[in-house]
């Protein structure tokens, strides 16, 4: 493969760190290898020097001894001694014949004594010629050594008289094949001093020892050395440089020893040297080896680092790729990739004349989840949804996230050229998805029911643009939402109009909330004596073009647009401000205001704090504020609701259960909830006179209130008959047209000022629309 120079340069540049590290490490390895080999060589040389020096000493002493041995052997074999024995065998007398032989022997001994010198000193202190009986026949020189009377050995021998520092060399005299005597030479060991490095104290740590560990040199010893150490030195294996055992030589830690036996004598030269003396202060080969190893490790690190760098670059690229084409939260393809795949699918469909489908999926009430449980939980739900969606489709289908809670599933090829069959197959997938979402999610211990609204647009062989397809599926999804959520809708062209209208209303609501066009009307509440005791605040939207928009119309819009929480807060704040204002008016100062709280509000984690803050900012008396909950509020997470209720009750706020009897009306809830009041739903009140069941329910609720010590409010009381019926069954409070319609605050104030406990329709004001927020 041939690289252009520029490309090659770029390749090299990409790996500059590795190359630099490689060059550095290589040079280090070469250097350390050289260093290592140099050190090994140096150490080898040092060892060789030590060995050579010791061997040289040993050889010098050995040579000296060998020469002396030869001298003695020569003397023992000399003619004069042979003549002596010859003459003796001839029977010559000592006086007249052997004298001459003995004289010659003496003369030759004297000659040797005088002539044989070492460093200008006589070598032999004494020479003796013994006959076979060990009787000295000739003796020249003098010595303190005892003459070796022993034996008639046929071999020369050398012995050491350590006490007198003498060496005795003895050679047999063999005449006519028979040992006839011996010649013995005595040598002063001090004669060897010049052959030793030095006789100084301790340095340079060279010893001459006999085999029993008697140190002959140096003569002046370090007192710390004892006999055991000497014996240890004498027993060291010869010819090897060995570290001294620390236990035996504590003062010579780190020292090496070499023992060179002296050939021909039971003597040894032992030299000691510290590591520094032996090898100097240079690096040890092990250190050099470690340095080399370090370089290799360095290179390995550089290699690893380079790979990490490349991996990081690859991951970075992948991340960029991921950011470009994948959703970071869920890991699903994002809009860009989805569009690509839709285009691919469209092209394939066009070729094969087949159908595909695009499913636009939106989570129901996702914004509410985000608002109430926080975005963390929202994100968690999205990831779980992504996983569940992916599990519902085939491998070659695409599940993507467009953003927020919007997902799109692309069924690229439904395997049919028939639109109806394609629709059925897409519906099957849709139903599968909806079925999968029937199971609640567990969000960190919080059971959350998540439903979907799915809009489906078919990918036809002669299809539209990608944008149009997405728009169609989106519209179908909105249709599904409008159809009550948790459902699936195929795209219908009529949807477009409806969706557009809803979108416009949402935009208007958002705008009017900013312009204070959200109003509250107050419907009077009276006690069993007909006294005005409070009002229920009911939300109203004064639309600029459409006039008053009924709550039943704009509350769902607010919910779908995620405006329900700000709307609820706004209502509460207006009510509290009104309450504070009424506190200054004797006619209204005692009145309570009941505000409806939606389930979404109640689930908001900071709801209690929000209420407190509003009370604080408005200055309203919490004892006059009543929050009305619906049964739906209590369905989930009852514990959380109770906690919030008790927190608010602790500051004086009271709670009323609205629409009681219309839902599941769990008596256990009534028992557990810190309620102050229950409200009989107007549906029961309205038919209380004509429907025995409603009457019975109303009676039961009244009785229940009495039993649980809860006040009971009957809603929707419009006629005297209804009032009479209810009044017969207990001391209730009442709310309804019979006592007053919902009124703007100024009108209500006038009503309150003129309110008479008498139940008189003339005292009531004309009511407006009846509706309740949330």
């Amino acid at each position: 493969m041939r690289y252009a120079p520029g490309k090659l340069f770029r390749q090299l540049a990409n790996h500059w760190l590795l190359i630099a590290a490689g060059i550095f490490s290589l040079s280090m390895v070469v250097m350390t290898a050289n260093l290592y080999s140099s050190q090994v060589e140096l150490r080898g040389n040092a060892d060789a020097r030590l060995i050579a020096t010791s061997d040289a000493r040993s050889a010098a002493i050995g040579d000296f001894i060998r020469e002396r041995r030869q001298d003695v052997i020569r003397l023992a074999g000399s003619d004069v001694i042979a003549d002596y024995f010859g003459n003796r065998d001839l029977g010559m007398s000592v006086k007249y014949g052997l004298f001459a032989s003995l004289a010659l022997i003496e003369h030759s001994f004297k000659e040797v004594l005088e002539k044989e010198r070492f460093q200008d000193q006589r070598i032999y202190a004494r020479l003796t010629f013994f006959d076979r009986d060990g009787v000295p026949q000739v003796r020249v020189g003098a010595s303190a050594a005892q003459e070796n009377l022993g034996g008639d050995s046929a071999e020369p021998n050398i012995s050491i008289d350590a006490a007198h520092r003498l060496m005795l060399i003895r050679a047999p005299v063999i005449y006519k094949g028979e040992v006839r005597g011996a010649v013995e030479a005595v040598i002063d060991l001090d004669l060897l001093a010049p052959l030793m490095a030095s006789n100084e104290l301790w340095r340079p740590r060279e010893f001459l020892l006999d085999n029993t560990g008697v140190v002959l040199f140096p003569t002046k010893r370090k007192p710390s050395f004892n006999k055991a150490m000497d014996v240890e030195l004498a027993s060291l294996p010869p010819g090897r440089i060995l570290p001294l055992p620390e236990a035996a030589f504590p003062e010579l830690k780190g020292h090496f020893a070499f023992r060179a036996p002296v050939k021909g004598a039971e003597l040894s030269i032992v030299r000691l040297a510290s590591e520094e003396e032996l090898y100097g202060r240079g690096l040890s080969p092990i250190t050099a080896f470690c340095m080399g190893l370090f370089s290799v490790l360095l290179f390995a690190l550089a290699l690893g680092f380079d790979r990490m760098r490349k991996s990081a670059a690859r991951r970075h690229e992948e991340k960029i790729q991921g950011l470009a084409f994948y959703d970071q939260l869920t890991g699903l393809p994002n809009r860009s990739l989805l569009i690509e795949r839709i285009q691919d699918a469209l092209a394939a469909n066009a070729r094969q004349k087949s159908f595909g489908a695009l499913m636009f999926i939106d989570l129901d009430n996702f914004k509410t989840l985000n608002d109430t449980l926080g975005h963390d939980m929202g994100d968690l739900l999205l990831t779980k949804v992504a996983a569940r969606l992916t599990g519902c489709v085939d491998r070659h289908d695409t599940v993507s996230r467009l953003g927020g809670d919007e997902f799109v599933v692309l069924l690229g090829d439904l395997g049919t050229r028939d639109a109806k069959v394609a629709a059925l197959r897409a519906e099957t997938v849709g139903e599968r998805i909806l079925g999968a979402f029937a199971v609640d999610y567990n969000l960190k211990g919080y059971d959350y029911p998540c439903t979907l609204s799915i809009g489906v647009a078919l990918l036809e062989p002669e299809s539209l643009s990608v944008d149009d397809l997405l728009k169609r599926a989106d519209l179908a999804m909105y249709d599904a939402k409008a159809g009550g959520r948790n459902g699936l809708r195929f795209f219908d062209p009529f949807m477009q109009t409806m969706i557009s209208a809803k979108a416009a209303l949402e935009a208007d609501l958002r705008e009017d909330m900013k312009r204070d066009r959200i109003l509250l009307h107050y419907q009077p509440q009276v006690d069993h004596l007909g006294r005005l005791v409070g009002a229920e605040a009911l939300v109203r939207w004064a639309h600029a073009q459409r006039g008053m928009v009924p709550p039943a119309e704009f509350i769902p819009v607010a919910e779908s647009a995620g405006l329900i929480l700000p709307l609820g807060a706004m209502v509460l704040e207006i009510a509290c401000r009104q309450l504070a204002r009424w506190a200054a008016n004797p006619a209204t100062e005692h009145l309570t205001v009941a505000v409806n709280v939606s389930a979404i509000q109640m689930r908001h984690k900071n709801f209690a704090e929000q209420v407190c803050r509003i009370l604080e900012t408005t200055g309203a008396n919490p004892h006059l504020l009543k929050l009305e909950l619906t049964e739906s509020t209590l369905i989930k997470n009852i514990g959380d609701v109770i906690a919030k209720m008790e927190k608010l009750k602790s500051i004086g706020i009271s709670f009323s259960l609205d629409d009681f009897g219309t839902g599941f009306s769990s008596l256990s809830y009534l028992k557990r909830l810190p309620l102050d009041q229950i409200k009989i739903d107007m549906s029961f009140v309205q038919d209380v006179l004509i429907d025995a069941n409603d009457a019975a329910i109303a009676q039961t609720i009244i009785a229940l209130g009495n039993i649980l010590d809860l006040s009971v409010v009957a809603e929707g009381v419009e006629t005297e008959e209804q009032y009479d019926f209810l009044a017969q069954h207990g001391q209730l409070s009442y709310q309804g047209y019979l006592f007053g319609r919902p009124l703007p605050a100024p009108d209500f104030e006038r009503l309150a000022a003129a309110f008479s406990p008498r139940r008189n329709s003339s005292t009531t004001m004309p009511s407006l629309d009846i509706a309740k927020a949330g």
Partner: protein, 299 residues
């Protein structure tokens, strides 16, 4: 014979000496100094005069010449003519009488050659103080059936025992030397004397013995020391034939100053140790044989 009867034996010798002294002129110290030369008469004998220009006596006389401040000259002679060469007259010995006869050229001033002091020699010569000890031994080839005597405490007994060994065996002798049998009472006692005449060199006695010219031989200790080494294992010493003898340097009777000068020189080299060195050089081991002599001399 007339002179012998008239003056007796001793006087006879003295007369002969007088006659001799009148016949030739002697060289005393002054003349030698005047001549500037000391002529040393030596016989090739043992290591006294080796014949190769050195020897115990050669070195000693060279030292003496140096001490006199004169040059040195070695004049070789033999045992037959050595006295004639010193005195210029021939020596005649007959029945114990010594006569000097004839006129011959005087070749030297002093005899120093391991020269034994014998009575007859003393009658015609002046001897210095002893320069060396000696003794005459009886030698036999190693294979001889004769066994050496056992050491005794008395030398005369040893000599007697030794002489008894000779019996009728042939004995190699050299007349007019220290090995002259007449000196030791061996003549006329039935000993088969074999006179060695091929040479006047004592060094040739042992080779002649080994050559079978006789069964036994006389040999002086200095030669014996050398020959026992030279012919080790082939000869053996049977015992002594003589008492200890003394060797000395001989001068003419009319050279007393020269003799005195020599004696002074001898004492000097004994004191300085030069004498001992010469002894050890040329006769190693001789001290062991004559311990008293050398102890006395060196002390």
């Amino acid at each position: 014979m007339f002179w012998k009867r008239l003056l007796g034996r001793r006087h006879g010798v003295a007369l002969a000496a007088v006659l001799a002294s009148t016949a030739v002129s002697a060289a005393d110290l002054a003349e030698i100094k005047a001549n500037g030369e000391l002529r040393h008469i030596g016989i090739r004998y043992a290591n006294f005069v080796t014949g190769t220009g050195d020897g115990f006596d050669v070195e000693m006389m060279q030292g003496f010449a140096r001490s006199l401040g004169v040059s040195y000259k070695l004049v070789y002679s033999d045992f037959y003519t050595v006295i004639r060469d010193l005195l210029g007259k021939d020596v005649q010995r007959k029945n114990g009488d010594v006569t000097l006869t004839g006129a011959f050229p005087v070749k030297g001033d002093v005899i120093a050659t391991g020269f034994t002091m014998l009575p007859w020699r003393e009658s015609i010569l002046l001897f210095s103080e002893p320069t060396f000890p000696s003794q005459v031994l009886l030698m036999a080839p190693a294979e001889s059936d004769l066994q050496p005597i056992k050491d005794g405490s008395d030398v005369s007994e040893d000599i007697k025992a030794t002489k008894q060994l000779i019996g009728s065996r042939s004995l190699l002798v050299m007349e007019r030397t220290c090995l002259d049998p007449a000196n030791y009472g061996l003549t006329g006692v039935g000993v088969d004397l074999k006179k060695y005449t091929k040479s006047a060199n004592l060094n040739e006695m042992i080779p002649a013995l080994l050559n079978g010219e006789a069964q036994l031989a006389l040999l002086d200790v200095p030669d014996a020391i050398l020959d026992l080494r030279k012919w080790a294992g082939r000869i053996k010493v049977l015992g002594p034939i003589s008492e200890q003898q003394t060797l000395a340097t001989a001068f003419p009777k009319d050279a007393p100053e020269l003799r005195d000068a020599f004696n002074a020189y001898l004492r000097e080299i004994k004191a300085s140790g030069d004498y001992d060195r010469l002894v050890d050089k040329y006769y190693p081991g001789i001290r062991l044989y004559f311990p008293q002599f050398f102890a006395a001399k060196t002390n």
